[in-house]
């Protein structure tokens, strides 16, 4: 059960709405995709701080949590929440390793296709390389100093949990600065990435939970 619950989260990461969105032209889309692909292809390791804002329309303010994320090629991934609680989750060799305030658990997900898919989605979201994913209908927009790609799931199962994923890119370095996942028109999770470091050596211990 735990596995499945986790999968849900992972199916969700991101979306962004802005007042001054302007649709890209075909030529702009092509340039933008190429630029992002060049950047994301260079990524061997990545570490970044993140702040997560959970927005539920009936709450008076967003629920804010924060921490660090690490990725290492080809498929090592670690999310570490540091504030206001310690909770980390590592994807490693077909396993999900959880450390919840010192309480450890592991879930074997084996060769699960859905796991591979989720992993791809997360890594794709953070690195920005999600444009070849046939599971989404993608549209492209320009913002002030930023580019925005919106991903709408095609499959009904995915659609049930994610209405839309939005990745916001810095215009200068073509890296993802925000991931937003819309559950409905009112409720979403917004993850802001900052202090991103690419291709620095990452201590293996971050992937042992």
């Amino acid at each position: 059960m735990r596995t499945k619950l986790f999968l849900f989260f992972f199916i969700l990461i991101g979306l962004n709405v802005s007042a001054q969105e302007q649709k890209m032209t075909e030529a702009e889309i092509s340039t933008f995709k190429q630029q992002v692909n060049v950047v994301s292809k260079k990524i061997k390791t990545l570490s970044t701080d993140f702040v997560q804002y959970k927005h539920l329309d009936f709450l008076s303010k967003d629920i804010e949590t924060s921490g660090k994320m690490y990725f290492k090629e080809p498929a090592l991934l670690s999310w570490q929440y540091k504030k206001p609680y310690n909770y980390s989750i590592v994807f490693k060799n077909g396993k999900i390793l959880i450390n919840d305030e010192g309480k450890k658990s592991a879930v074997d997900i084996g060769n699960s296709k859905i796991f591979a898919r989720i992993n791809k989605l997360i890594v794709g979201s953070v690195s920005g390389n999600m444009f070849d994913d046939a599971a989404f209908t993608i549209s492209y927009f320009k913002l002030k100093g930023k580019n925005l790609a919106k991903f709408i799931p095609k499959e009904a199962t995915l659609k049930k949990y994610i209405k839309q994923i939005e990745l916001t890119f810095d215009k200068e370095d073509a890296s993802v600065v925000q991931v937003k996942l819309l559950e409905s028109s009112e409720d979403y999770t917004r993850i802001v990435l900052k202090n991103k470091v690419i291709n620095a050596k990452i201590d293996e211990s971050v992937f042992t939970n």
Binding site: F9, K54, F58, L59, E64, P84, I98, Y161, T189
Partner: protein
């Protein structure tokens, strides 16, 4: 003659047993004069507050964790949402004394028995006032008994500060659910534990402050 009295004896013994076990919760306490007829529970009652707790659920040896969010949305009703740590919603519902409406639920949790259990737990947790019929006491607590359908709720208030620390929900024969509150002031609970006695289910809520 001897034979004909036996069934009555048996029946009497049976009733005696029922009566003795009737007061499963209160039997250890001394009856006390009633000093109030209604108790208001403050812990989830302020409609201005977002009540956000890290939650750990242990059910028959399986562990789950996530975020529990509750908000009083009008005079009678709370909105309750469970999400994973990552923010995706697992369960979203509205609950009051008489109504229960699910806004969304993931298919893995969509089981009648689970929903009914959570409904009973959270109705008790979020209940804002209890009508009191009887009072008891022991060394540290005044225990108020409130009837609720064919069950009884027992509220344990400290003698010292009149702070609600525990609610026990019981049938006539046995305890069913125990909710314990840890509270530094008397308006807000830092920690809540919901423990079931008849099934292996424990829900722990630890308040956290968003930055």
């Amino acid at each position: 003659m001897q034979k004909s009295t036996n069934p009555f004896l048996l029946i009497n013994c049976f009733w005696l047993l029922v009566l003795v076990s009737c007061s499963s919760v209160s039997k250890n306490y001394t009856p006390k004069e009633l000093d109030q007829t209604k108790i208001e529970v403050p812990y989830f009652a302020n409609s201005k507050n977002d009540y956000v707790y890290k939650t750990n659920i242990s059910v028959y040896g399986h562990e789950m964790s996530g975020i529990f969010i509750a908000k009083k949305i009008n005079y009678t009703t709370h909105r309750v949402v469970f999400t994973t740590e990552f923010g995706n919603k697992l369960l979203d519902f509205e609950i009051s004394e008489n109504d229960f409406k699910i806004h969304s639920i993931v298919s893995e949790l969509d089981r009648k028995i689970l929903i009914n259990t959570l409904k009973e737990d959270f109705r008790l947790l979020l209940k804002q006032d209890f009508k009191i019929e009887q009072a008891f006491e022991n060394e540290n607590f005044i225990i108020y008994k409130s009837a609720d359908g064919n069950q009884d709720n027992y509220l344990f208030l400290t003698k010292k500060e009149s702070k609600l620390e525990k609610i026990i929900r019981a049938s006539h024969t046995k305890e069913k659910i125990t909710i314990t509150f840890t509270s530094e002031n008397d308006s807000f609970a830092q920690k809540v534990v919901i423990l079931h006695q008849n099934i292996k289910l424990k829900i722990e809520l630890n308040y956290f402050k968003s930055e």
